[in-house]
């Protein structure tokens, strides 16, 4: 019968492997500087998981996930900035108690939309609800009018560009091109120390596994199957009695919320937020991480984010000019040669060998149709 367990065997292995890697191996083997880098890379894994649902499953390519990454990141940054801008810390400013960049821009009063970010509870809510709200508006406007495919992708690019311009232009309210910098403490706890970075890494990994479980849950419900169905035969879904637009909106919102959580974690790990993580280029990079990892695989998205970012760090140090070309070439190569990315390579080349080695006697009984040719065309069940 069809698998009704939460993880099938190979997914369970994937889950445990990733957990061991992130919770045990990496923290034990690499120094805190590198671990913090891994934490930074993993913030993109949140975006990747969202893209797996939205793009891999639902077929909705968003080239503007940086928008939601940024919204989450800025929400967190605003909270931290307010905390760092206490009257005592900012007494040399002409208006003490407001963020330094506001003071430099002759703003003398905290803007209204900054006020609620004094509250940590509000900030956490905002990290979830602000991107959900914006993605709902964008999704409803697009999908109800049946804008899809490449047009949708272009519009999301435009939105990423618009938001960047807005942030840069409204320097007094947003910190402009520099972003919101010099973040110090979270509820009085200094986030710049090595110890804090170590703790934050684990907080992030726990959040990441929360998102993995949530995404897996969505994937296994009927909604997950409708997303796959929609990607293939939108009309058939419509004529099976479903409002396709609502399902697309849901997938897009879920991806936005995941991206936003990643953005908020980014701010905590890196200690600042700037428009350079919002715009067109970072948004496309996020899609590349997902494509390299495998757009149908939640775990693939995590590994893709880790590996591409690791490559980016090492290569951009040695070949700063060439790196972007390398990234572009990587994307083209993956799409042409391995459309299912690393997870596809694993599934098609490595796993069969592992399986053969592991169990020559253990025949997966049941329907007799689980040979590799079936699994190939199938979303990993």
């Amino acid at each position: 019968m069809i698998n009704s367990r939460f993880f099938n065997r190979s997914e369970l292995i994937g889950f445990v492997t990733l957990a061991v890697l992130l919770f045990v191996i990496l923290p034990l083997t690499i120094d805190i500087f590198r671990l913090n880098l891994v934490a930074k890379y993993l913030t993109y894994a949140f975006v990747g998981i969202g893209l797996v649902l939205c793009w891999g499953y639902g077929g909705i390519l968003s080239l503007g996930q940086g928008v939601f990454f940024g919204l989450g990141g800025y929400c967190m940054a605003m909270y931290l900035k307010l905390e760092a801008s206490s009257a005592a810390n900012t007494k040399i400013q002409s208006t003490p108690g407001i963020p330094d960049f506001m003071d430099w821009n002759q703003i003398t009063q905290l803007p209204l939309f900054w006020q609620p970010f004094h509250s940590f509870a509000f900030t956490i809510l905002a990290i979830i609800l602000v991107p959900a709200f914006f993605s709902f508006i964008i999704g409803a406007a697009m999908f109800k009018r049946r804008v899809g495919g490449v047009y949708f992708a272009i519009i999301t690019q435009a939105i990423a560009a618009i938001l960047t311009i807005l942030i840069v232009g409204q320097q007094g309210y947003t910190g402009g091109i520099n972003g919101i910098t010099d973040l110090r403490t979270l509820n009085g706890w200094d986030i710049r120390t090595d110890h804090a970075k170590f703790i934050l890494y684990f907080v992030e990994v726990i959040c990441l596994f929360g998102c993995i479980v949530a995404a897996q849950f969505i994937r296994l419900t009927k909604l997950g199957r409708i997303l796959v169905a929609m990607r293939e035969q939108e009309d058939r879904v419509r004529f099976s009695g479903y409002s396709v637009a609502n399902f697309k909106i849901f997938a897009f919102c879920a991806a936005a919320v995941f991206a936003s959580i990643g953005g908020a974690m980014f701010t905590l790990e890196v200690g600042f937020m700037s428009p350079s993580f919002v715009g067109i280029v970072p948004s496309i990079e996020m899609v590349i991480y997902t494509a390299v990892g495998g757009r149908m695989s939640i775990f693939g998205a995590v590994y893709g984010s880790l590996l591409v970012n690791f490559a980016k760090t090492s290569l951009s140090e040695s070949f700063p000019q060439l790196w972007l070309f390398g990234l572009g070439a990587l994307f083209i190569a993956v799409v042409l040669a391995f459309p299912d990315g690393l997870s596809g390579i694993w599934r098609d080349y490595i796993q069969p060998r592992v399986d053969r080695l592991m169990s020559s006697r253990k025949s997966k009984s049941g329907n007799g149709w689980t040979d590799s040719s079936v699994a190939d065309g199938a979303p990993a069940e």
């Binding site: 019968m1 069809i2 009704s4 969505i218 419900t221 009927k222 909604l223 199957r225 409708i226 796959v228 169905a229 990607r231 293939e232 035969q233 009309d235 058939r236 879904v237 419509r238 004529f239 099976s240 009695g241 479903y242 409002s243 396709v244 609502n246 399902f247 909106i249 849901f250 049941g366 329907n367 149709w369 040719s373 079936v374 065309g377 199938a378 979303p379």
Partner: protein, 251 residues
Amino acid sequence: MLVGHQPKDFLLAVEALTVSFDGFKAVNDLSLYVEENEIRVIIGPNGAGKTTVLDLICGKTKATSGSIQFRGQELTKLKENQIVQAGVGRKFQTPSVFEDLTVFENLEISYPRGRTVFGSLTFKRDAAVRERVEEVAEMVFLNDRLNVYADQLSHGQKQWLEIGMLLIQDPDLLMLDEPVAGMSVSERVKTAELLNRIIKDRSVLVIEHDMKFVEDIAHKVTVLHQGQILSEGSMEHVKNDPKVIEVYLGH
């Protein structure tokens, strides 16, 4: 029912339906009435507007003018999914099934429950669903293929699967666009048998070119030509209509 005491209880009443694409009237002032439990076959040469009529009824194409009443409900104002929920099922010309899903999952998606976003998140695959899926799979000769991904099915099996997906919706009006096109002879026979079984207790609107097949199943035949009705009546009547022979059957 609204029209209880009128002479005929039409399930579907299409009146003065017109659709024009940039001035070209693909369907022109068409009126068509389908009764409860009637099997109506629409035939006609290529470009006669047969598929467009089905598109209009199921909401895929919006009518320029005219009305489509289904059980007294105006369909031209509804969205596709609302039309399905009102009880109209549509099979497309090319088999459109979800190839990345199994036969079971294909049928399950069409099961009329949990059709909203949150409904589908909380949808449980319970005994009722399983039973119904298995029952329908049996009807469409796919009961030993439930766990097979749909891309592994033959063309004929895909057509059956799509018919099964419609059956599980349990529509009052079933619209089939060339259900036997591209099928082998034996598949054709099986399909005719299948259709004869499933058309009980519902009305069916079929587009088909295979005249033998049409003769087998039709209660009434409508011949379309250039977006208008050329002739309508029993197969016998239509076959002997000189206008029909001229534009269609004579060829």
